[in-house]
Symmetry: C2
């Protein structure tokens, strides 16, 4: 045996031998009730990892339907797909909530190019959502590079007839990449508002990513209150192309950039939120929402954004049913429509909840990708926040250490209220902006185990919230 071991990859074997049985949690430190919870949580994880359905659901959605921008035929297909799937999982009731959504279309593939030092360079760009088209012949203009809205604003009329190029990169020293995104996305959203005002001819924006690569990242933009005649075409350019253009501008400040896009905003289109629920056994009038968004951008297949959130949300209900966990409150799974460019589905859902005097006591949203679990972000009153944080000891063994106060999500956000506990699922963020809103957001970027661990993480916190939140007092908003 010894001799055999000498010839093997000892490090791995050592790990194995030292810890043959995985000691998930030190049960001596738990109360009787916590031990029961710990067992139930382990059951949910085992079930997700051995019998999870989310990965195959996601494969189906992303490869057979693909990208599903609001108003598109694919979004309509996704609604049918979602309703059918919820029925297959056997939810107690499933229905569609009609909602009118914006209907922006990209049109033909965008073209961008410039010539400097005798060399013509083709530039990977894509129109931003809600942007207007260029004239059919495209636009050609000199470029002014800026790093912020303030810098652009200060240019004033100097930008007239020019293309303004926003090129402030992500701050890669921020460990949470969503914060880096938050530090840059104003350029994408508001760039055209600032520059349209002063008569710029167009706007190009560095793609929102930590990486230096060749993929333009789309996303929504706005013209604010600008009158229509001041709406100027706006596009994202890949981060590598942004670096190269910036270098070229230093050498040749008068170079002319050409781009052409044919996108347009059509009249609003009819669509739906897809809703299904497991009725609560004790207080069915109290509702927990678990959801993600069904729409996606059009460039990729909407795998991490937010196919993973959709299938994980449904898997929460699937895991409850499979393991015969009967929630005392109603668990409602919602596939929200139109998170990406309008959040109309979220608003409609909240509006109907109010209209129907529904009693929402909490929500959980998964819209930060399908990577390995890290924790949850809590938007709730202090006592409920503390309660959720106290579950760290039960959840940390599954990698869920980061359970802190913070935002929840765009789709459940409108349900906010003093006694409503909203939670955002927070997987590891390091790779998210490699794929976000690009052509590379495809099924092959999702790891089966990471996805399933996410489903189980979500199911576990829903199990705990259902059991412990509002335990003593009936809740009425």
């Amino acid at each position: 045996m010894k001799k055999i071991l000498l010839f093997t990859s000892i490090s791995l074997l050592m790990l194995a031998c030292n810890q043959k049985k995985e000691k998930i949690i030190d049960s001596n430190k738990l109360s009787t009730e916590e031990k029961k919870d710990s067992t139930n949580i382990k059951t949910l994880f085992n079930s997700a990892l051995m019998d999870g359905k989310s990965y195959e659901w996601l494969r189906d959605l992303t490869t057979n339907i693909g990208g599903r921008l609001s108003g598109s035929p694919e979004a309509a297909q996704a609604v049918i797909w979602g309703e059918k799937l919820m029925n297959e999982v056997g939810l107690d009731s499933v229905w569609l909530q009609p909602v009118m959504v914006p209907h922006w279309v990209r049109g033909e593939k965008e073209i961008a190019t410039y010539t400097t030092n005798g060399t013509q360079k083709n530039v990977p760009i894509c129109a931003l959502g809600f942007s207007v088209a260029t004239p059919k012949s495209g636009i050609l203009a000199e470029v002014i590079e800026v790093k912020s809205l303030e810098e652009a604003e200060a240019l004033g009329n100097k930008m007239e007839g020019k293309i303004v190029f926003f090129n402030r990169p992500f701050d890669n020293t921020l460990i949470n990449t969503f914060r880096a995104y938050g530090g840059c996305v104003d350029q994408r959203v508001q760039g055209a508002t600032v520059c349209g005002k002063f008569g710029a001819k167009g706007v190009i924006v560095r793609s929102m990513t930590n990486a230096v690569d060749d993929y333009p990242h789309t996303g929504t933009m706005s013209y604010g209150n600008l009158p229509k005649e001041k709406h100027i075409p706006t596009a994202a350019i890949s981060s590598r192309a942004a670096n190269i253009l910036s270098d070229d501008l230093k050498k040749n400040p008068e170079l002319k950039f050409y781009f052409k896009q044919s996108c347009e905003t059509l009249p609003d289109a009819p669509s739906f939120n897809v809703v299904g629920e497991i009725k609560g056994t004790e207080t069915p009038e109290n509702i927990f929402v678990v959801g993600g968004h069904l729409d996606s951008w059009d460039l990729g297949d909407g795998a991490h954004d937010d196919g993973t959130g959709i299938v994980q949300s449904l898997e929460v209900a699937y895991l409850f049913k499979k393991n015969n966990i009967k929630p005392k409150n109603t668990i409602r799974v919602v596939f929200f429509m139109n998170e990406e460019n309008g959040t109309r589905g979220a608003k409609k859902y909240a509006e109907l909840a109010k209209l129907n005097k529904e009693n929402h006591i909490g929500g959980l949203e998964s819209d930060a990708g399908g990577h390995t679990p890290r924790g949850f972000s809590i938007d709730a009153n202090d006592s409920n926040t503390d309660l959720l944080k106290s579950w760290k000891k039960l959840l940390a063994p599954y990698g869920l250490h980061d359970i802190e106060k913070g935002g929840s999500g765009a789709d459940i956000g409108p349900l906010k209220g003093e006694n409503v506990t909203l939670v955002g699922y927070r997987p590891d963020s390091q790779r998210y902006f490699d794929y976000h809103h690009t052509s590379t957001d495809t099924f092959d970027k999702v790891n089966k185990r990471e996805l399933e661990l996410g489903s189980a993480s979500m199911a576990s916190i829903v199990y705990l919230m259902d059991k412990y939140l509002y335990n003593d007092t009936p809740v009425k908003q």
Copy 2:
């Protein structure tokens, strides 16, 4: 502004607006010295994320040299590459440690096939390291499926002339995938010893992976004390092929499996550990080793196993130098040779350390892939273990929550001693066995930020160990 926000991806913006500045750590809870440490650790992370070199080093190693099995021309190239790189980084001294290594070669691509129900199926297999070849014409035999060494042992002479098929899969409910590996790898390592004894004709082993896919995973095996004439050919088959074969055997227990491989073990070959160091400013006679292994299996490019460990180890030294952190003890970077099939480099290193009366006070090994950081595993005496665990508050903001007692690594393991603090870097393990020892262990599977966060995590714990371990007493083994 409000109107603009309505049209944007509100969830992400909310996150951003709530937390514009990343609050890495609550500095009110730190002592003056800890604040200084916290600042230095942040500097190391910033530096790795903004100016890290590890990703480009890894690209070079994996794409220009590729897989580098001990004794191969590529392993020899990797030694030259490593020595050159250490010199470029500007270590105080760089040298090679000669070591003789096993020299096993795969030969021609393996072939496996069987026919059942009139259909011929080609099976993805690969020879296991140290396996003998089949006869030139291959072997053809009936198959007996077993799930364990015990089950095989119990078969006794019934396996004579048969191929024994080990098919116990990973336990996917284990959160740490290394534990699942540890629960299965005995089949790969010892299967041939058990079956050769009873006259089996060959052994095939289910690949060591959590996934169900088409890639055979190689790895080392052993014939234990069996005489040469009982050495039988041994191969890994892909997990999907294992499932299919198992199904087919249920329907047709007499099907005959054919495989052919031409691998062989040549005489030991000369090779080297690559060693470089930064001399300590106060107690240079005390040495901390930081390392990974330079060799890899031949099927892929050895990216996660262990190219990432190599480049991260060197990046520790690079980050120290770049940020003018002068260790009081000597920091020695070692690219160990032959971890995969022999750990001869590790043994030689420890042997020379003893011979030269070197004073090793600790070591850090990275050989668990280049994924997002999770923590460290500590093999040390109780007081040093407690000290390292007390650094959680400084390291947790970077995702390093799992700092626990456990094994360290195969290459630094031989340095173990009462006053030696050995640490294994532990990144997230979920994706590791998708790539481990297969053709898919290539550069594109490594994420730049995850790799760099690992380098910075390692540099941070080396910084703390250098500063605080053995602070009061001079160490002599």
